[in-house]
């Protein structure tokens, strides 16, 4: 974001705007005119206060080098789950430390009703500074307050990079912040690095269902913002000797203003596993033939501590529920181990699981696509192999 606050000739020097400025950037000079200092964050709160319509904000793309150089450091948006920072936040902090190379300050913003010991944990995980925005209404994520607070913190702190997880939270609020600040946002990045020559953030992400990797820059505006795919970046080992600063953000009435409210939160039943979080995913496809046969996969998943996924064919046939669908119109998973059972491996399925560390496939059709890209393939009847496998694992475990 860059731009300037214009003070038109119609200004009478009445001073009304001066009182509205949250960062004391406005003053009245000896010529009886309002003047604005470099502290102005272009927040636009003053605009409507002027009775003579003498104030206007002009946003500029293509901010000059001087303008871009005012931004420094990395800001991470913390996501709280059940009162604790989510694993994805630790991954972002690990990545932020890597990008900072010991030079950039890493801050983390926590928006919550109760931070518990999150600030300490976040500092141990790599943060130099924790900014807390605490309010009783912040128990559940809600777009507008999160947007107001994040844009405020960015306008005041001027970080050059802002990172959030590519979760339903990050992907909800970050595009809103990017539009509010007139700067770029790159979705669902899987690789970040700083270009040594330009100092720009090189943001790499899969597009076209993972068939193409695109590297994107935000060269004319700041901050450079990314949402980052969970499960890709590495958190650092917690270092309990690390120290940092904890700052309380004053939560204003403006920040809690909200035209929507969360009436209720219904947690997913305990026995349901989020397939995107599982380390082992065992998926069944058209070859499973009916819903009852999925019990075979559930048995196997139970033995291995994994969870059951499915191809679209199995879901469309009503054999298993949609939240377990892997692929283009379902979920993208990247477990340590993916076992595809009776799945042919069409591109729509492939794009949802090809980033798994290893892929094993059981299929009776030697020519199935899945054998073209799996790590190891097993040609045979799944109704013989899977029960034999369950028996074998039980035997080995005694």
């Amino acid at each position: 974001m860059s731009g300037f606050l214009e003070i038109k000739d119609s200004c009478t020097g009445c001073g009304i705007c001066v009182k509205t400025c949250p960062v004391q950037a406005l003053s009245i000079n000896e010529m009886k005119r309002a003047v604005v200092s470099d502290d102005c964050t272009l927040c636009s709160i003053c605009i409507d206060s002027c009775p003579f319509e003498s104030l206007a904000i002009h946003h500029l793309f293509g901010g000059n080098k001087e303008e871009l150089a005012k931004y420094s450091g990395i800001l991470v948006l913390c996501e709280m789950r059940n009162g604790l920072p989510d694993r994805s936040t630790y991954e972002l902090l690990g990545e932020a430390r890597k990008l900072s190379a010991g030079e950039k300050e890493v801050s983390v913003l926590v928006i919550t009703d109760d931070p518990h010991d999150a600030p300490e944990k976040l500092i141990h995980a790599g943060a130099d500074k924790v900014i807390k925005a605490v309010h009783e209404s912040f128990e559940q994520f809600s777009t507008e307050p999160w947007n107001s607070i994040l844009t405020h913190v960015i306008r005041v702190g001027k970080p050059e990079i802002v990172l959030a997880a590519a979760t339903t939270t990050g992907r909800d609020v970050m595009p809103r912040v990017s539009k509010s600040l007139d700067t770029g946002l790159t979705a669902d990045c899987t690789e970040l690095r700083i270009d040594s020559e330009s100092g720009m953030l090189m943001q790499t992400r899969p597009a076209f269902g993972g068939n193409i990797m695109a590297t994107i820059v935000c060269d004319r505006t700041r901050p450079q913002m990314s949402t980052v795919r969970p499960g890709v970046m590495k958190p650092m080992e917690p270092d309990t000797s690390r120290t940092g600063e904890v700052v309380d953000l004053e939560v204003t009435a403006e920040m809690v203003k909200n035209r929507s409210k969360v009436l209720e939160f219904i947690p997913t039943a305990g026995d349901e596993v989020d397939i995107t979080e599982a380390e082992i995913v065992i998926s069944g496809g058209r070859g499973m033939k009916n819903p009852e046969n999925f019990a075979l996969l559930h048995d196997l998943a139970h033995l291995l501590g994994g969870t059951v996924g499915a191809s679209r064919a199995a879901v469309d046939n009503g054999w298993i529920e949609y939240p377990r669908q892997v692929g283009q119109t379902g979920k993208t998973v990247q477990p340590k181990t993916y076992l595809a059972v009776g799945i042919s491996g069409a591109v729509q399925h492939r794009v949802g699981m090809q980033s798994s560390d290893v892929i094993y496939a059981v299929n009776k059709d030697m020519d199935a696509n899945i054998f073209q890209f799996c790590t190891e393939g097993f040609v045979g009847d799944l109704f013989e192999i899977v029960p034999a496998l369950v028996k074998e694992i039980q035997k080995r475990r005694g």
Partner: protein, 262 residues
């Protein structure tokens, strides 16, 4: 009620093949389709129109040939459509796209809700819906798996998040992004097909939207793509054949070694 559905024409990835030798995408002759997620957005808008009365207008930003997805939407039951097309819109990132779409929604006027699909299958960003909401300064509900209630003042919807379901109530006008869970899209009717053939589809360009070339397309995009590459293709590994017991034993070796510890 006045509903708008924003759709996108995308290449049909079902028809995309990967060159096995070079690992590149073969896009030649790949047909264009309506983004699959957008069909759920369209159905949801039409469902509530059928219940509450009003009209569903479908918009898309794209080249002249993107008109075909608008005709498809009309054949499915949309009331009318507008093609947002101008050379100045080409090369837009999500900032510039949402800026342009928001200008079109403002131009339509008195809109109660704008429906988007969860994301487009080519870009996969899921950013345009929330950015349009920001441009319009409207509330938004993303990842909607079910719309419970919709009235002239409020919407109550279920938002599917990682750990469960948020039941969210928001004031209208609102921007929604819709998941596949929400409904089963209807198929085009014969009457719809007739209507879509005859439909006049206006084209709105830069000046119709009161925009300048600096805020649209490539010029108006804060991000730019500098490199594209295909990821290292996975090549097929070892293929095992044999008796079920032999295969099960080999597979057990692999699974237990790869961290199946519990």
């Amino acid at each position: 009620m006045k509903f708008v559905v924003a759709v996108k024409q995308v290449p049909d990835t079902a028809e995309v093949r990967i060159d096995p030798e070079r690992g590149t995408l073969i896009r030649d002759g790949v047909p264009s389709i309506m983004n699959p997620f957008d069909t759920y957005a369209l159905e949801e808008a039409m469902k509530w129109r059928d219940e509450l009365g009003g009209a569903v207008t479908v918009i898309t930003m794209g080249p002249p040939q993107a008109e075909s997805v608008l005709r498809e939407a009309i054949s499915m039951g949309a009331d009318d459509a507008i093609l947002i097309s101008d050379r100045a819109f080409a090369g837009a990132d999500t900032w510039a796209t949402s800026h342009t779409l928001a200008a079109a929604v403002n131009e339509l006027g008195d809109v109660d809700a704008v429906f988007f699909g969860k994301q487009a299958i080519d870009g996969d960003t899921a950013q345009t819906g929330p950015s349009v909401a920001a441009s319009l300064d409207w509330p938004q509900i993303t990842f909607v798996g079910k719309v419970r209630e919709l009235s002239s003042k409020f919407i109550t919807a279920e938002r599917y998040v990682e750990t469960g379901t948020q039941v969210v109530q928001a004031e209208l006008p609102v921007v929604l992004t819709i998941l596949k869970d929400a409904n089963v899209p209807r198929v085009p009717s014969l009457r719809g097909k007739m209507k879509s053939r005859k439909a006049q589809i206006p084209v709105w360009g830069l000046s119709d939207l009161g925009l300048t070339g600096d805020e649209t397309g490539l010029n108006g995009s804060p991000t730019k793509v500098v490199v594209t590459a295909t990821p290292d293709p996975r090549t097929g590994g070892q293929i095992h054949q044999g008796s079920a017991e032999e295969l099960a034993s080999k597979l057990a070796d692999l699974l237990l070694e790869e961290g199946g510890t519990s």
